[in-house]
C-alpha cells in the first residue's frame, strides 16, 4: 500500500477538522507552486496547547497529516511548536511517500505560524 494504515485512518476520519471560535493563535501555510494549504487554530492554557484544530485544502496526505499532528501537539508548549519539524509531522502518519513530503512541510509550517501568532498576541496583551 502506498499509504500507511495510520494515514488512511486519519484521512477517512479526520480528528479536529474545522474552525475554532476565538482561538489564541492561528497560522496558515501554503506550499509554493502547489495548491496545498493548511490552517491551524490553537487554544492555549498556561503556556501549553490544550486544543488544536485545522482546515486544509490538499491531497489526502495533507488532510491526514494535519489530523494526526493535531492530536500530537496537545500538551506541548507554544515555544516547542515554534521549532516543529516536518519530520515530526511525517512520523505522526507513519511516513509519507517521496512525492508527498510536502504534506508534512505545509502542515508543520501552518503550526509554526500558529505558534508564532499565539506568542505575538500574548506579547500584545502584556
Amino acid at each position: 500500500m502506498r499509504y500507511s494504515p495510520t494515514l488512511l485512518d486519519h484521512f477517512l476520519n479526520p480528528r479536529n477538522a474545522g474552525l475554532m471560535r476565538e482561538p489564541d493563535g492561528t497560522g496558515v501555510d501554503e506550499y509554493e507552486g502547489c495548491g496545498d494549504l493548511a490552517r491551524f487554530f490553537l487554544r492555549v492554557r498556561e503556556g501549553r496547547v490544550s486544543e488544536a484544530r485545522f482546515q486544509t485544502y490538499g491531497c489526502g496526505p495533507t488532510i491526514a497529516a494535519a489530523s494526526a499532528v493535531s492530536e500530537k501537539v496537545v500538551g506541548r508548549t507554544v515555544e516547542e511548536l515554534l521549532n516543529l519539524k516536518p519530520q515530526e509531522v511525517e512520523d505522526a502518519v507513519d511516513g509519507l511517500p517521496d512525492d508527498r513530503k510536502h504534506a508534512a512541510d505545509v502542515v508543520a509550517g501552518a503550526l509554526r505560524a500558529a505558534a508564532l501568532d499565539t506568542l505575538r498576541r500574548r506579547g500584545g496583551e502584556a
Binding site: L8, T56, G58, I63
Partner: protein, 384 residues
C-alpha cells in the same frame, strides 16, 4: 469491504476472455516469425492477416492500408512526424486538447522548423470547424484533431473538419483512440485520411494498436529495418497481441451499438443521482455529444486526488482531473482549455464505464461519493 468497481475504462480495459483464448496458441504453438517462408511462419502470418482483415472490415477500408503499431502514441507520432518529414516544411493545425502524443510531437516539430497552430475549444470542449478554417495557411500540410477527448469525452465535429480538409486537399489525421470500437463512424464520409486507434481501450491487450492511412498519402517512415508493414514500420510484428487485437475489434463490431446505449443510460443515471445529492457539482464535457461511458464531474473547492483516494478506499477506481506530483498541482490542461475556473478544475473526477459496469456498481458509487465529498468539505478552508 470486498466490492471492487473499476471505472477507469478510458485509461485501460481488461482483456476480453475470448480475446485471451484466441491469443494463447500464438505464444507457444503458432510462434513463428510471420516473415518466414516455412510452415511455422505461414501459421503466424495467417493469424496476422486475419487480424488485419478484421480491423479493415470494421473500418470499411482496404486491409493493405492498415499499419500495426505498438500503441496510440506511436500511431500519432507516425501521422504527425511522418507527414511533416515527407514534406520537409510547412504548417500543421491541431487543437489544445489533443493527447500528449499529438501535442508533444507537434511541439517537437516546432523545434524542427515547422509551424503549428493549436486551436482552442468551447466550454464543452468542442473544436469549432470555423477556427480550423481560419487557421488554414497556404503552407498548411496537415490537420490533426482527435475524435473524442479522454477526459471530457466530448465528440469533435470531425466530419465538418474533414470536409474542410478535403476541399483544400490537406491530409486529415484523427486520433480515434477513445472512439474506435465505441462509436460508429465512416472514415470516408468524415473525410479522414489517417486514423490512430488502440487495442487496450477496447478489451484487447496493451502494446498493440493500429494506424490507417489512405492510399496516396505520403508519409516518411520513422522506424527503419525490415520490410514489415509494407515498409511503413519495420520490426517483427507482435503476432499474439495483434491476433488478440483483431478479435477484440471483431467483438466490438458486434457489441458496439447495444453497449453504447447501455453505458449512456448508466452514465446519465450517475450524473442525475450525484447532482441531486451533492451540492456544488458540475458536469464537464458536452451534455449529449459525449462518449457513452465518460462522466467527468467537478466538485467545487475539493481537491480531486483526495476524492480519488477516498473512493479507492471503497474499492472504486476512478481518475483525478488534476495531478499532484512532487509538490506541484497541475489542473488538467483539457479542463483549463475549456475555460473551467481553477477552483472547479482542481476538483474534477472522471469515471469511465465499460462492459463489466452494472447498475449496482453505479448505485454503489453514488452512495460512496456523497459522504466522501461532505467529509472533505468539512475540513476545508473554503466552502462548507
Amino acid at each position: 469491504m470486498s466490492r471492487r468497481v473499476y471505472l477507469d475504462h478510458n485509461a485501460s480495459t481488461p482483456v476480453h476472455p475470448d480475446v485471451v483464448a484466441e491469443m494463447l496458441p500464438y505464444f507457444s504453438e503458432r510462434f513463428g516469425n510471420p516473415s518466414s517462408v516455412h510452415g511455422f511462419g505461414r501459421e503466424a502470418r495467417a493469424g496476422l492477416d486475419l487480424a488485419r482483415e478484421r480491423v479493415a472490415k470494421f473500418l470499411r477500408v482496404p486491409a493493405d492500408e492498415i499499419v500495426f503499431t505498438s500503441g496510440g502514441t506511436e500511431s500519432d507520432n507516425m501521422a504527425l512526424k511522418g507527414l511533416a518529414f515527407a514534406r520537409g516544411k510547412g504548417h500543421l493545425i491541431t487543437s489544445k486538447i489533443e493527447h500528449h502524443a499529438v501535442l508533444r510531437a507537434a511541439e517537437w516539430l516546432e523545434t524542427q522548423g515547422f509551424a503549428v497552430t493549436y486551436v482552442g475549444v468551447d466550454e464543452y470542449g468542442m473544436v469549432d470547424p470555423d477556427d480550423v478554417k481560419r487557421a488554414l495557411r497556404p503552407d498548411t500540410i496537415g490537420i490533426s484533431i482527435m475524435h473524442a477527448n479522454s477526459e471530457a469525452g466530448t465528440i469533435q465535429p470531425v466530419a465538418a473538419i474533414g470536409a474542410l480538409a478535403r476541399e483544400r486537399g490537406i491530409p486529415f489525421h484523427v486520433d480515434a483512440v477513445q472512439t474506435f470500437g465505441k462509436l460508429e463512424f465512416d472514415v470516408n464520409a468524415c473525410g479522414i485520411d489517417m486514423l490512430s486507434f488502440s487495442g487496450h481501450k477496447i478489451y484487447g491487450p496493451k502494446g498493440v494498436a493500429g494506424f490507417w492511412v489512405r492510399k496516396g498519402i505520403k508519409l516518411q517512415s520513422l522506424q527503419h529495418g525490415g520490410e514489415h508493414e509494407r515498409r511503413r514500420r519495420a520490426g517483427t510484428e507482435n503476432v499474439a497481441g495483434l491476433v488478440g487485437f483483431g478479435k477484440a475489434v471483431e467483438i466490438r463490431g458486434r457489441d458496439l451499438k447495444a453497449e453504447g446505449e447501455r453505458l449512456t443510460a448508466l452514465r446519465d443515471r450517475l450524473w442525475e443521482a450525484i447532482r441531486a445529492r451533492v451540492p456544488d457539482v458540475r458536469l464537464n464535457g458536452h451534455p449529449t455529444e459525449r462518449l457513452p461511458g465518460t462522466a467527468n464531474f467537478s466538485y467545487r473547492g475539493v481537491e480531486s486526488e483526495s476524492i480519488v483516494l477516498g473512493l479507492d478506499l471503497k474499492g472504486i477506481g476512478v481518475s483525478a482531473g488534476s495531478a499532484c506530483t512532487a509538490g506541484s498541482v497541475e489542473p488538467s490542461y483539457v479542463l483549463v482549455a475549456m475555460g473551467l475556473p481553477i477552483e472547479w478544475a482542481m476538483g474534477a473526477v472522471r469515471s469511465s464505464l465499460g462492459r463489466s459496469t452494472t447498475a449496482e456498481d453505479i448505485d454503489y458509487v453514488i452512495e460512496s461519493v456523497e459522504p466522501i465529498v461532505r467529509k472533505l468539505r468539512a475540513a476545508m478552508p473554503v466552502g462548507a
